[in-house]
């Protein structure tokens, strides 16, 4: 007999108060009247918790471009989305994971393109050896070293 444990994704809402009025300096604002709705950051980042996985990125092949995926960034990956051209995806190439931009060029040619131009593009020549594992929807990076950087697993 074995232990069967259902582990819930911790998805307690994190309520941040959103003020939708501009601050008027020097004038005491009756804040009660202007308090906006409360925002749940999880709802924004994880709209589909049952098909979303968190992934840590190591390496700089995606830095310097539009996606802003730096070494050590945390990615929210939604697997229920259908990948569209120009999406950043988690791809499986010959059994290995990689994070790249899925690009479609003339003549139905598909490529996995790194944001960092010093890395080579990967043409998808054999669709059988290629799979989209999930679509990257959000990137979490830090502007100063603090708690999340402690979660980098060196492997």
């Amino acid at each position: 007999m074995c232990e069967v444990l259902f582990v819930p994704v911790i998805r307690r809402p994190l309520w941040l108060t959103f003020f939708d009025s501009r601050v008027s300096a020097g004038f005491p604002s009756p804040a009660e009247d202007h308090r906006g709705e409360k925002l749940d950051l999880n709802k924004l980042l994880l709209p589909h918790p049952d098909s979303t996985y968190l992934v840590r990125v190591m390496g700089d092949s995606m830095t310097g471009g539009e996606s802003g995926i730096r070494d050590g960034a945390l990615l929210a990956v939604d697997c229920q989305l259908q990948a569209q051209p120009d999406d950043v995806v988690i791809a499986v190439v010959e059994g290995q994971f990689t994070v790249k931009r899925l690009v479609k060029r003339k003549g139905d040619a598909w490529f996995l393109v790194p944001d960092n131009p010093t890395y080579p593009e990967i043409p998808i020549n054999e669709p059988d050896l290629f799979d989209v594992w999930g679509v990257v929807t959000h990137v979490l990076t830090e502007t100063r070293r603090s708690r999340t950087s402690a979660h980098v697993r060196v492997s």
Binding site: C2, V4, V57, M58, G59, Q80, I90, T98
Partner: protein, 431 residues
């Protein structure tokens, strides 16, 4: 119509979801303590590896064929199971979670609205594959017993694409003829022997018997029901939890030990640890238990004759989720079954007869005020342990006698990270 969804080689598939390089290669997962094989990939099955074979016996075969071996990683399997079940609950009218990797579906009345059932569940199957990367098979039939049988055949027939619907009488007959009698749901090893002795080899031959015969030969009304289910008349309905939630009907916490334990205090520490963990799970889903079972087992590979497992069942005076209460009864139960000098390899605690908290019948003589304070204490305990890590505050009974690794923590030499449930273990990709 009922459906049965079964995840293919579930534990192996969970490992493959996060290590795609394992696709197409032989993989096995070992039970707790790396004892024996509990999940095999198709490639491993083809090498002749059997369920339950002890690791030490098959080690040469594993090495020779380069089979990937993993220790079980229940944090991962539990989370992946939850993802599969949540999806099914969101698309099917009603579901019954039957085990970590199996789920019955109630599909009654869907056909007029959704059209072709096969196409519908094939899409569910595709979605599960996309969302969780777990391959599943789905059997559909007029009864749960037949749905289970259809599922088994869907797995065996590549042409079915993982979905088999026994919608006509011809298909039902065909499916029954394909199924050996021991593979019918509810026919155990002993009944199978008995049936074979009467030259009943297939499910079709069993289904051709009379109800009176089934009553006499297969344990009364249970046997009669089994027969009618095979004949296509539903006798069992889904048993979803009343509020439609995914709360479990029983909670088990068991482990085998790294080495044999003999002293009462050592076994009590292990049992107390399991009871504490089970009670914590109980409170997490807002339930209270009516029945407590404690069992201890000796090695099946030792010199002693069976029985190797002894268990004691205690019906609690009131349903409870209070660790203090449960520990007290667990001690009583263990005292009944423990014998000096026995080298025990495994122990476990099962909580059954679960009901939502707050519905318990109160005892006439129990001071209610104290119960409230105790519930508060348990809530605080859970809060502390959630914040500072599991087992940060424990009952002294549940502490191992010596410092260091508790004997029930066992060996997990080849365990993969808990990719989805621990920050430290998050999937990491080099780019």
């Amino acid at each position: 119509m009922y459906g049965l969804v079964d995840c293919n080689n579930f534990y192996v598939s969970c490992e493959r979801a996060f290590q795609p390089r394992l696709l197409g290669r032989p993989v096995v997962v070992l039970s707790n303590n790396d004892g024996c094989i509990i999940s095999r990939s198709q490639e491993a099955k083809e090498l002749g590896l059997k369920m339950g074979e002890p690791y030490f016996q098959v080690k040469p075969i594993l090495l020779r064929h380069g089979v990937q071996v993993y220790s079980s990683n229940y944090a991962l399997y539990g989370d992946m199971s939850r993802r599969v079940m949540h999806y099914l609950a969101s698309v099917a009218p009603e579901i019954e979670i039957y085990s970590i990797d199996e789920c019955f579906l109630d599909l009654h009345g869907l056909e007029p609205y959704c059209g072709n059932l096969v196409e519908l569940v094939a899409e569910w199957r595709r979605q599960i594959g996309k969302r969780t990367h777990i391959p599943v098979c789905i059997g559909i039939a007029p009864t749960k017993t037949l749905a289970k049988l259809a599922n088994r055949l869907a797995k065996k027939l590549p042409a079915s694409n993982g979905v088999l619907y026994l919608d006509t009488e011809e298909r039902r007959q065909w499916a029954l003829a394909q199924t050996p009698v021991e593979d019918v749901w509810g026919i155990g090893g002993l009944y199978a022997q008995k049936l074979r002795a009467q030259s009943i080899q297939t499910a079709a031959e069993l289904a051709a018997q009379s109800e009176g015969w089934a009553r006499r030969q297969l344990g009364g009304v249970v046997g009669a029901r089994l027969l009618r289910e095979l004949q296509g008349t539903p006798c069992q309905q889904l048993a979803p939890s009343e509020d439609g939630s995914l709360a479990r009907k029983s909670i088990a916490c068991t482990r085998s030990f790294a080495g044999p334990l003999s002293e009462f205090s050592d076994l009590m520490a292990a049992v107390a640890h399991f009871a504490s963990k089970a009670a914590e799970k109980l409170r997490r889903q807002g339930s209270a238990a009516n029945v407590l079972t404690v069992f201890i087992s000796k090695s099946r590979y030792g010199t002693e004759p069976p029985p190797h497992t002894h268990s004691a069942v205690i019906t609690l005076p009131t349903a409870t989720s209070d660790t203090i209460e449960l520990l007290r009864y667990a001690r009583t139960a263990l005292k009944r079954i423990w014998e000096p000098g026995g080298g025990y390899k495994k122990a476990g605690v099962l909580l059954d007869g679960l009901e939502p908290t707050g519905q318990q019948q109160l005892l006439l003589f129990e001071p209610n005020e104290q119960a409230e304070r105790r519930a508060q204490l348990m809530a605080e305990l859970d809060k502390v342990n959630q914040r500072f890590g599991a087992g940060a505050v424990r009952f002294a009974t549940a502490m191992p006698r010596e410092r260091g690794v508790a004997p029930w923590q066992g060996q997990r030499q080849w365990q993969t990270p808990a990719y989805t449930t621990r920050w430290e273990d998050m999937l990491c990709i080099r780019v």
